[in-house]
Symmetry: C2
Subunit: 81 residues, 2 copies
């Protein structure tokens, strides 16, 4: 079993309305020190394989095809185990 | 400036319907090796402070009050810079 941790983040040049909303909420709650908030996704995938090289190729393919929208999002991943 | 990276994940005992849906989609795309998917949030907060101890206390407070729903979610965070 290999565990893949995938991080999907909105590209720096793209507006993140969810982050802006959370920043506004934090400000109105008194957390005035919060300058900016960017929100992404964090995914844990359990893979039924022990071949790290294959897992690397396959997870990259999953990211490109489904997990990330590469027009507006960046992704990176780590493999564990 | 301190950067806080916050990870919010659904507790192990709680069903993650978004993860189940993504797993189903990956299966139907031929990624049969995917045993399970859990989806959480990844947040980057820029804090206008240089006091790490204060930042630690404040980010914990933000997580408890807004960023995580501690009934069904776990959170952890790291401070950088």
């Amino acid at each position: 079993m290999i565990k893949a941790i995938v991080y999907v983040t909105i590209k720096q040049s793209v507006l993140d309305p969810q982050g802006v909303a959370v920043q506004g909420a934090l400000h109105s709650m008194g957390f005035k020190e919060v300058d900016s908030v960017r929100i992404g996704k964090y995914m844990e995938l359990q893979l039924d394989t022990n071949d790290r090289n294959e897992a690397e190729t396959r997870v990259k393919e999953m990211c490109e095809k489904l997990l990330a929208n590469t027009v507006v999002e960046d992704y990176r991943f780590e493999l564990e185990g």
